[in-house]
Symmetry: C2
Subunit: 260 residues, 2 copies
């Protein structure tokens, strides 16, 4: 009754990883369950501990398990994603609830939202941002606002907003960390920029080292990067925000018309 019938060409580390993966998929190792310890696996398969460890590291890279120092290795529980939609920018939603869609989503999950503007500075825009704003990257200056988004004090997103100085002027957008009622898009409206269209460019990648520590991300979890551009009635791009979101906690949900 040996599963591998003598001709298993997989190296032992793969075999252990495959077995564990199968157990996770079948539900035998349920979400949150503890895997056998490295030493236990090594003994069971007759390998060195490092070999069992290598197997676990494969599963870590696939985002299937998380190791906790001193406790063990656990099947990574799949938390439901927050679903951020284009309605993030809806004026109606803004005025109805007085809450940002982020806060609504977090609250819906029974967690406590928090947002924090960490800095407001003047800076040169990154090349891609300058391009979206129609600015010259080498000469232009923008206001840079860095916002952090939390659920239960756990950071889940960062958003860096770039506003041309010509747009922000001496308004609160250019200097204040807190922007008052109706949040940032109300302030743009004060200045005569009313959002009518948005462009969102989405990509996925592994986090930079700073991001994975800043967002305290477990290994094997990618980020979603969204480069957002706000456009007004006169087709002016008046603001660009780069969102970086933990991929295990966030998702996007767009519904839109198909333009002929």
């Amino acid at each position: 009754m040996d599963e591998q019938s003598g001709t298993d060409r997989r190296p032992p580390s793969r075999r252990i990883a495959d077995d564990l993966r199968a157990s996770i998929r079948s539900g035998e190792l349920a979400s949150g369950a503890k895997l056998p310890s490295e030493r236990e696996l090594a003994g069971r398969y007759g390998t060195a501990r490092n070999t069992a460890r290598e197997a676990i590291s494969i599963l870590q890279g696939e985002g299937l398990v998380v190791a906790q120092h001193g406790r063990g290795v656990f099947v990574r529980p799949r938390t439901p994603l927050m679903r951020l939609g284009a309605n993030r920018y809806s004026r109606q939603l803004r005025s109805e609830t007085g809450l940002s869609p982020f806060r609504i989503e977090v609250t819906k999950q029974g967690r406590t939202p928090k947002t924090e503007c960490r800095s407001v500075t003047r800076d040169k825009p990154p090349a891609d941002v300058a391009d979206r704003l129609g600015l010259d990257a080498s000469t232009a200056t923008v206001i840079r606002r860095e916002n952090w988004y939390y659920a239960d004090d756990e950071p889940v997103q960062v958003g860096v907003t770039y506003i041309p100085v010509d747009v922000a002027g001496e308004s609160p957008l250019a200097s204040e960390r807190t922007l008052g009622k109706g949040s940032i898009y109300a302030r743009f409206e004060d200045l005569g920029y009313r959002i009518t269209r948005i462009r969102e460019e989405i990509s996925a990648r592994m986090p930079y080292h700073e991001e994975s520590t800043g967002l305290s991300m477990p290994p094997g979890v990618p980020v979603i990067e969204v480069l957002h551009t706000s456009i007004d009635e006169q087709h002016r791009a008046f603001e660009v925000t780069r969102f970086v979101m933990r991929g295990d906690l966030n998702g996007l949900d767009y519904e839109m018309p198909v333009e002929d």
Copy 2:
């Protein structure tokens, strides 16, 4: 002139990884450049080879480098992303060019596109798909069409389309692998379903084991998953497609109105 002034609490593997990462960022190790060999690094830092190897595996997990057996470890070149937009579904684009947006994007990059319908079967819908189609997951039957998308014979995307049997009927959608001129949405129009709105739910995750082999993905690269729903004038969801795309080759680009 020692950089670490005696009090470097980082383990050697981290230190090697940090140094290499810095070299990559600074451009000292350019895109595509070869890293020092594992043995070379071990010698240079006075560690065992495994320790240098561990450092490289950290960078692999971050998607910064790729190892090639027998050749060396290289800085992963960042290929430009394909930018898939909502105009994928535009009738105008379809009729103007006769090409699918996928083919246009790949051609734009100087590569050769290929698409292939691998199978057409009848199946039970997955729960999330059934939900989007307004079907009962346990009783309903759908047509399942599996499509693979290639650039220069390299697979870059998979799309699995689900169509309720009531919609597909006995049309080519229900059985033919090739759908003829104007592609799939033209066939839906033949049946009276004209796409007017779409919903796209986007997430990012590490590939399943089958996906990473099927799409021959290097380690440290996530996938983008898009659950797409097509909606017609009468608000009927008539088709759902789940796209799984290599995150290092694909991006999404939406422009849409903000609905009040």
